[in-house]
Amino acid sequence: MARKLPPKDVVLVGFGWTAAILGQELTDAGLQVLALERGGWRDTPTDFAPTFIQDELRYYFRRKLFAEPSRETLTFRNAMNETALPMRQLGSFLPATGVGGAGIHWNGQTWRFLPSDFLARSHNIQRYGKLPDDNMTVQDWGVTYDELEPHYDRFEYLCGISGKAGNLKGQKQPGGNPFEGARSRDYPNPPLNMTYAPTLFAKAAQELGHKPFPCPAANMSRPYTNPLGVQLGQCTYCGFCEKYACGNYSKASAQTTILPVLMRKDNFTLKTQCEVLKVLMDNTGKKATGVLYIDEQGEEWEQPAEIVILCAFAYNNVHLMLLSGIGKPYDPKADSGVVGRNYAYQIVSSVNLFYDDKYTNTFVGAGALGMGVDEFNGDNFDHGGLGFIGGGYLACWTTNGRPIETHPTPKGTPRWGGKWKKAVADNYLRQTSISTHGAVMSFRDNYLDLDPTYRDVYGNPMLRLTFDYKDNERKMSDYLTDKAAEIAKAMKPREMSVNKRTGPYSIVPYQTTHNTGGAAMGADPKTSAVNRYLQSWDVPNVFVMGSSVFPQNPGYNPTGTIGALTYWAADAIRNQYLKNPGPLVQA
């Protein structure tokens, strides 16, 4: 029997990026805010110190900073006619647990989506007549780029993003990304210093008529003090960003941008090792009364609150909605319901280049250090006759030379033995790669629901993921990979290997932690779980943050847009909801 606690104005479920932003914004509005985090407290000097964070085995291969499947996982299958089985080890994606969430172990690649990305359905139908696949459930977001622009700006200045504007108030800027939406001002910091390989990529791309630009990075190109007065240090290019936390206060995260201010506020409280099991509802089912959580000692508590905001990892928000009865569960056969609908991911491929005469020294790196081209992203190119919509960026990154993970060998090299050893030794310092980072559209039979067999540690049904790449994504990824190979050829390597995306989606090899959808935002409650302000259509005092609200996944990394949407929702809560609690959009 849960014991009942004194009420709070706001409960934040999880304490990563989105919860830290909301905590800061809503305590500023005078509210009493409580964050419940299932993992522990962790911070730079104690948990990520530069004296021991550069440990590839401990942090990546032994999963030190990530969620543990022993405690929470999901089941997975490629198609509805298969039996889903548990993801017993982490692989394809790396969800987090603990303060700061997955935002502590990201690379820092911080993009804005294209204006047309937010109009994916109407824009593509207008330009091409119809969508290429009848099973596509691609939708408009219900919010526009122009509406989000001030919020992108706030997030970029919070983080101290290093980059070069390509479009200032409609004026194209040489050296920046010419395809980006208009921005109100330049990035807060100049681009990072460029290592060798990305300059080779940029030169070759330019020769082919593309417009390469330094990719936007949450790695500091110089010391930075953000608008909250929190200071970050200059990046030291140690090459341990993604899968690691930064020991040098050089990568934006909740810890390095917000927590020193938020944690000291009198109207903010954080409880760690407290996992929310359910959002509690009143007897109408239209209002949340608070949450039920369990602490590390196994005690259950009822925490009443006026507003409940789901800030857990993308699919965990969806799981909690399904377990709590917030919104109608999606049924792909009947094509009804919304919660679990429109799950998407990312599709990636690469080209490896090997040189005899060029030392690339990729161990000198940073998570978002690279040059990119955006000619083949979104609808930046004519898709007429191609048979797919969407696209992605191509980039030559120098993220790392961590040798367990990064020791590429040319095609035809054995996987072990003396020849393998020689190939690794010969190529390690003289290689680079071009990666493609592609969009994944949403489809009727890619979705999340509750598993009929497997249960989590609390006895609740696990979340079940049904997902595979469709023809649209495969054609698109092949197209991007061909374009990457053209640039690679112009970089004149001794040899190269083109790694196209083949076979079904697999949960085994790491790809990206860009899981999206399941609680899609939109303008129509029949096809979206939350409205344009990330407010539940069905339970208006519940808001849902993070990439769970993406109706499909554009060809960029998601964090920039997650940050912008969080500020957008915080603004709506502060300036509209608090004055008149209730639905912010009439269905």
């Binding site: 290592t195 300059t199 060029k358 020791h407 003396g418 030794a425």
Partner: protein
């Protein structure tokens, strides 16, 4: 001393609930580690939590006799990793770089017990894209597969793996890699995949974990190790830097001989 350190680590790294969930509190597990202390739920209000000297530092592996492998298993492992990464004119191989010690300590620890994996049933064979669906932990897989391979070889020609010539060993490893050897109750292919991955881990991970002795793996390829600051080198395009490797515990030039 090592035991005390291990216990200190497990009390911060893992909760009892996690272990219970994984079904990992078995007799075998209990024999290797004391019951961990539960991490208590905590409330933070009006403070930026910080405790001096509370860093979550790694526990160095100490060299010494095998803790997990039996003599027969050790003979197999030493022979197998010598073929996966052989000693040659480029330098030490996996055996010389102490990869067997690394593997031993990994199997004896939380990884060997699959403490972070979901290890509850129902168990079914899945598709390739659904990943690992065996009920064996890494330690159990090593133990069962080594025994089964040696029995298989002994039946065929009277010799166990460690007694074969290097060429014959390469043939056996290749057959395991290509899933051509069918063993009783265990997948030779699954074992080979794990052994290959773990051998590479032991060859290239920080020496603090027991392998990569003298940073042999890093010296082979030119990786400078756990360095913190490369700012002076970002602009040195197309230059061979030749930076001597540094481990988390420093490097020989820094540490006085004791």
């Amino acid at each position: 001393m090592r035991k005390a350190k291990e216990n200190a680590m497990s009390s911060t790294g893992l909760s009892r609930r996690t272990l219970l969930a994984a079904g990992a509190v078995s007799a075998a597990g209990a024999a290797l580690t004391a019951a961990p202390q539960p991490a208590e739920a905590r409330t933070y209000h009006g403070e930026m939590p910080w405790s001096p000297s509370a860093a979550d530092a790694p526990v160095p592996v100490e060299p010494g006799p095998y803790e997990f492998f039996t003599p027969d298993e050790a003979a197999f492992i030493e022979a197998a990793v010598s073929r996966i990464i052989p000693k040659d004119d480029l330098g030490p191989g996996a055996k010389e770089a102490a990869v067997p010690t690394f593997l031993d300590r990994q199997m004896a620890g939380e990884y060997g017990r699959a403490e972070r994996w979901y290890m509850l049933g129902p168990w079914r064979a899945g598709t390739k894209s659904q990943g690992y669906q065996s009920r064996l932990t890494p330690a159990q897989l090593y133990r069962a597969a080594i025994k089964a391979i040696d029995e298989h070889l002994k039946q065929a020609n009277g010799k166990i793996f460690a007694q074969l010539s290097p060429d014959e060993q390469d043939k056996v490893l290749g057959d395991l890699d290509n899933d051509k050897i069918k063993l009783t109750n265990v997948s030779g292919k699954a074992f080979f995949e794990l052994l290959l991955q773990n051998t590479i881990e032991g060859f290239f991970s920080d020496p603090i974990h027991g392998g990569n002795r003298d940073m042999a793996g890093w010296k082979l390829i030119g990786f400078p190790g756990a360095r913190y600051d490369y700012r002076p080198y970002v602009d040195k395009h197309n230059q061979k830097l030749d930076l001597p490797p540094v481990s988390i515990q420093g490097r020989p030039g820094w540490n006085p001989k004791t």
